[in-house]
Amino acid sequence: MDKEKLYTELSRCRKCRFCIDSCPTFRLFGNLENIGPYGRVQILRHLLKGTIDINDTVVYSIYTCLTCAECNIACKESGGALEISELVRGGRNVVFNKLKKEDINTPEANLISYALFTIVENVLKKNDPVGLGGKYWTKWTNGLNIQGKGTRILYTSRMYQMIPYLERITLLMKNYKNMIKKGKYKSLIKIGASLGIKLTSLKPNKVLKNKSTKTLRGIALALKKVGIEYGYLYDKEPYVGTLLYDLGLDEYLKRYIPRVYNLFKEHNIKQIISVDPHTHHLIKIIYPEYVENYDIEVINYLELLDQYSDKLKEEIKRRTGKEYVIHEPCTMSRKLNIFREPRSIAKVIGLNIIEPKYSGKYTRCCGGPIEFAYPEYTHKIAMDRVFELLTYSQNILTYCPICLMNLEKYARERRGEVFDIGELLYNSLIP
């Protein structure tokens, strides 16, 4: 979104503030108006107008936004029509460019500059925001005999594989954040080096590794069992670019998306089966905005399996019959409007679904994706959501790697457990 259009849209905010209570960070920060949707819209408006300069309050306000889009619903239902989370995303691009141009060495500016440049570098050089590289990404396929080619592919975008490491890096970030804020280090890698820690030698979170592997295997198996043929790009599989998008790094996204698209075209890919909401959103909704004549069909595995639900039912070996409270990923519900299919698949594998108070388009955020800079807030938001969900059931069902990562720890601490629907598919399909 260009600056002029962004300013016009921001100027349409009526300043009614009807959106503020919908925001997880507004609630978390004791109802501070500058850490909520109204405040963010107005900060950006005044920044573009020139009334205010960039400073730490601006940076903090704009980058603590979870882009969970709950405010968009509130604005719409109150008669407004602002896509607030999208405006904040656009605004991040403005802030980022100012941070690049102006040599600002304040704590929040240091933190965000470090985080953004690390992400950009990792994505562009190593094809994923964590920057691990290596063959780790494809290990989940062991023994599944998925072919390495095909016009239809299963596309993980490395999301599930990433979370056991991302969780560890987030903890590292939490511990060394103050050092970064002082501007002493320009990257976590350098901090790690100074402490004798190599990121590539970080031990992954075992629980998440187990769950994410089972999830991907469950999805792959289920698709096979119902007779869907697909390939997998193995170590050539690229990261989709979600963080570049969420953080408003538009000029890098502009460079990155054609790279991914061209790779798909080189492999003659015509249809993509996505496994997580963030990838699905990007590759289905956002990519066509960046690629002329975008011609790849995208379907989420839950949508696809739903078309074969009778066949899937026949393949199910075990039905748990247990109650699961559903935690709807905000990207899946508010950005993609996919509600029915996950529930349908849950029913097929015998889960009794409980709908919490905040569900469907009113679902609450898990705390991602601000763990890249503000893990302490991610953790608080995740904890609140887990507490709420556990009042319904000890078993929490979700279908997003980021939700799984953020909620899992707090559920486990209170003797609950978070399951991805893919993991439960795996459990149901293995005799």
Partner: protein, 473 residues
């Protein structure tokens, strides 16, 4: 930036930090702007921007801030959620702005027949809490999602509700904790469910618009839960709706809790926005209430027959909740829907009942007489059964800030003339800030000077919400 040279902002920051903690004193410009803004469609000016935003947690902290402000002669501006439509929430001078949202505790005492809440408690949260005790909150502003109880009591707004059906929120206030402008803390009212008769200070602060003190605790009587029935009626013209309202009062028909209308233009916008088919003309939305189910059913039938006794297209009781939700939203959010189309200057005209038609047609005709922007689009809606007409005049987004401001002021002044001419005042938006000229014209010099004298007794240094009673912009 935007701080008068005469003030040592660092010193004030340090002093206030000692009172309420550094984390609750905000000096950043963007935050000061955000807190000072209101829904007025024109920009803040330098003198509107507060010098600091402070967030006290209790009456004692508010008291210390006010004593400090008196000592240093620094104005203090207090507001609720900042949603005032007549500029009450916007500071009129560089002041310390008090945000009361940290004071939002809600405690229900069913055995005492009341609840107590902090001024920063959100209405929806209060309503949610009261529902656990089968009790309702007798306050129904359109800004429910964000409005605070302190703001509602300070303006004593009826908002959607017809006063004749349930009264105003202030009628349910049993007592208040107040910090006077000079910092003393007082308690008013009673802990009984029976409100005091005779001279009693609570009434001064209900609807006091933050001029005479800062409300730090509100005690309100618990109102038992009600049954409701909703009705919708479609009309060929607004004139028949106006006749219906006049006849309702004249013929002693039991008044509904809500009696709303949208004219044909507003109906088109509202119905389209919520996904309903375009109605054939103006629409009326009515909610009847009673504490007994049979009672509300009977009332709804009576009112439906009353509506049908006029020349209408059709009317019905709406049983489907989804249908009602959409119909209600087409009205409750129509102001915001209009804001998608351009800049809106609104008004509240609440005339004497027998002058309702005169006032309505004069407000409609006003669109041809405005100078700041010629021939804006006219939309009217509102709580017609109260009666309140929200006459709205819409102009394009593209007009300059200067034109926006002139236009809003012109609409305010000219619609207030209609109020004066037809014996009205208003019932929901407050009466200071942009409406001071109206107060002076309607009630005269002695009345206005009396208000100022009362203010001067309680606030000798004119610390609190300075400029609102003076009518500054």
């Amino acid at each position: 930036m935007f701080i008068p040279n005469s003030l040592d902002i660092d010193e004030i920051f340090e002093d206030l930090s000692k009172i309420i903690g550094k984390e609750n004193v905000i000096s950043d410009l963007s935050t000061r702007i955000i807190y000072a803004q209101d829904p007025m469609p024109y920009e803040l000016e330098e003198h509107n921007i507060p010098i600091l935003v402070v967030r006290p947690a209790c009456a004692e902290e508010v008291s210390k801030i006010l004593k400090y402000a008196n000592e240093k002669n620094i104005p203090v501006h207090v507001r609720g959620a900042g949603t005032s439509l007549v500029g009450v929430a916007r500071p009129k001078t560089n002041a310390i702005l008090i945000d009361l949202k940290r004071m939002s505790n809600i405690k229900v005492y069913p055995d005492r027949g009341y609840f107590e809440a902090g001024p920063g408690a959100r209405l929806w949260k209060v309503r949610e809490e009261l529902a656990k005790y089968n009790s309702i909150l007798p306050a129904f502003p359109g800004s429910e999602r964000v409005a605070t109880l302190g703001g509602v009591i300070s303006s004593n707004t009826s908002a959607h509700a017809v006063d004749a059906a349930l009264g105003k929120p202030g009628d349910f206030v049993l007592g208040l904790e107040i910090v006077l402008p000079t910092g003393e803390i007082i308690e008013t009212g009673t802990e009984s469910t029976r409100r005091p008769a005779g001279i009693e200070l609570t009434k001064l602060f209900i609807g006091g618009e933050g001029l005479f003190g800062i409300i730090t605790k509100i005690r309100m009587r618990l109102v038992p839960g009600i049954y409701v029935k909703n009705l919708v009626a479609y009309y060929k013209d607004v004139d028949t709706i106006l006749s219906t309202v006049v006849d309702m009062y004249r013929n002693m028909v039991p008044p509904p809790l809500f009696f709303e209308f949208v004219d044909e233009n507003a109906a088109k916008v509202g119905f389209e926005a919520v996904g309903l088919d375009e109605p054939p003309g103006p629409v009326v939305m009515i909610t009847m209430h009673d504490w007994v189910e049979e009672g509300v059913n009977e009332k709804a039938k009576i009112f439906l027959n009353f509506l049908k006794s006029k020349d209408i297209i059709k009317a019905k009781i709406v049983e489907d909740e989804d249908e009602w939700r959409k119909i209600w939203r087409s009205r409750s959010e129509v102001g915001n829907f209009l804001n998608r189309k351009g800049v809106v200057a609104g008004s509240e005209i609440s005339p004497r009942i027998d002058k309702l038609k005169d006032a309505y047609y004069e407000a409609k005709d006003l669109k041809n007489k405005l100078e700041a922007y010629k021939t804006p689009q006219f939309f009217s809606f509102g709580h017609i059964g109260a009666p309140t007409i929200h006459a709205n005049y819409l102009i394009p987004f593209e007009v300059s800030n200067d034109v926006r401001k002139k236009f809003v002021i012109e609409v305010r002044m000219k619609t207030e003339e209609i109020n004066i001419k037809y014996g009205g005042c208003g019932g929901e938006w407050g009466l200071t800030a942009q409406r001071i000229d109206f107060i002076k014209k309607k009630y005269g010099k002695v009345y206005y000077e009396t208000l100022k004298k009362i203010k001067a007794v309680l606030d000798p240094n004119n610390i609190l919400n300075r400029g609102n009673l003076e009518g500054w912009w």
